[in-house]
Subunit: 205 residues, 2 copies
DNA sequence: CCCCATTATTAAACAGTGTTTTATTTTAGA
DNA sequence: TCTAAAATAAAACACTGTTTAATAATGGGG
């Protein structure tokens, strides 16, 4: 009595400490350099024990990816401070970019790396709910803009995909170091400048 | 006499066969699954011989990345069939997307993977000339549009970065499988539809 | 033609990796 | 206290990129 409950609690604790360590090492040294043996050593367990808590390395990174989405969506909701949906949309874009700039490794994990999606494929999941949740949120803000006549009426899916692609493209070029050394005059401000002209393009129509 | 020339030729041949095999294996099984031992076996040399021809694995992939840029730029120049620079710009976008869809692994290598840029860093190169060449080409077409008054005058750098980011974002979401399973009604045509509304946005101003 | 230095090639080793198999220890209930 | 189950760990497997040390081939000079 109570003992099995404690056991479950202990298992969850261990699981959490694996995740916390994985996250810490990941942020510290990058994905490539974070190994199962590495994590095991830090939490003072043997490498094989980790496989009692996670199917494989991809599951660890999938779990971190899911946690990161909780944080991103939380940040995205800060855009609700703006009453005007168009202002909210602009704020949303800035928040998204800020999240990527503040957490490049996590952004990589969420939107670029193959590991989390590979794990999803393994599970035969038909939906990428983390991505869908964030995308649906964007769509709802765009819909509000269209409803209020602030943006020319178009297919919401396409417009959402356009906006997502644009900000994703900018931060991805930056994270994977393709935005540098191509002769830009002020590379450190290119994302901000590009975001501004993109915003104007959207609004003026 | 003549013998040392033959030697050089033989060395180049071996180098080329390493590259060809690497490319073939890479396209067949993906980057992760292509190993030095793999390549060595196919060309019937020992793994250590490869290190006589390339510093490391990253150099092989950097070289393939460079070759792929030659092909991309060649494709991009097909846009010159269009007299009107705005039409050329639209054609350029379509060609870029088509290249990515036809050669997703090569696109990955050129614009997403870290290996080629890591190799560049090792060489202390101050410019990513492959990327710069393609980006400069895009800028020249945009400049022509602005010169002819077909696009509202803006900072060419930013506009070029916006257009590049958008198409790069779209194809990257697709290549790294983030564009699927998020509830889109016709995911197979989302890139085309999105490109069309983006084109309209650019032109209308 | 033979020797020798140079070049090319390889075998073997190093230091890792993710993961699985086979023990071993710990634990909690009968 | 004994036992079955659960948790943990040691060792092994099959790999990886890369380096070192040894071997084989090559072509020019005496």
């Amino acid at each position: 009595m109570g003992v099995s409950e404690r056991r479950i609690r202990e298992r969850l604790d261990t699981r959490q400490s694996i995740l916390a360590t994985a996250r810490a090492l990941f942020l510290l040294k990058g994905f490539e350099a974070t190994t199962i043996r590495n994590i095991a050593e830090k939490i003072e367990y043997s490498p094989s024990t980790i496989y009692q808590y996670f199917k494989d390395k991809n599951e660890i990174f999938y779990t971190l990816h899911t946690e990161s989405f909780l944080e991103l969506v939380k940040q995205m909701k800060r855009s609700e401070l703006h009453e005007n949906p168009l202002e909210q949309l602009i704020a949303l874009g800035k928040i998204y970019i800020q999240f990527a700039e503040d957490n490049p490794e996590l952004y990589d994990l969420m939107f670029i790396m193959e590991a989390p999606i590979d794990f999803l494929n393994l599970l035969d999941e038909t939906q990428w709910i983390e991505g869908k949740t964030a995308f649906d949120y964007l769509k709802s803000v765009i819909s509000a803009c269209i409803y209020k006549g602030l943006i020319k009426e178009t297919d919401v899916d396409s417009l959402a995909y356009l906006i997502w692609s644009t900000v994703h493209g900018m931060v991805t070029l930056s994270i994977r170091k393709r935005g540098l050394r191509i002769g830009l005059s002020n590379p450190e401000t290119i994302i901000e400048r590009t975001f501004n002209i993109f915003s104007k393009l959207l609004v003026k129509s």
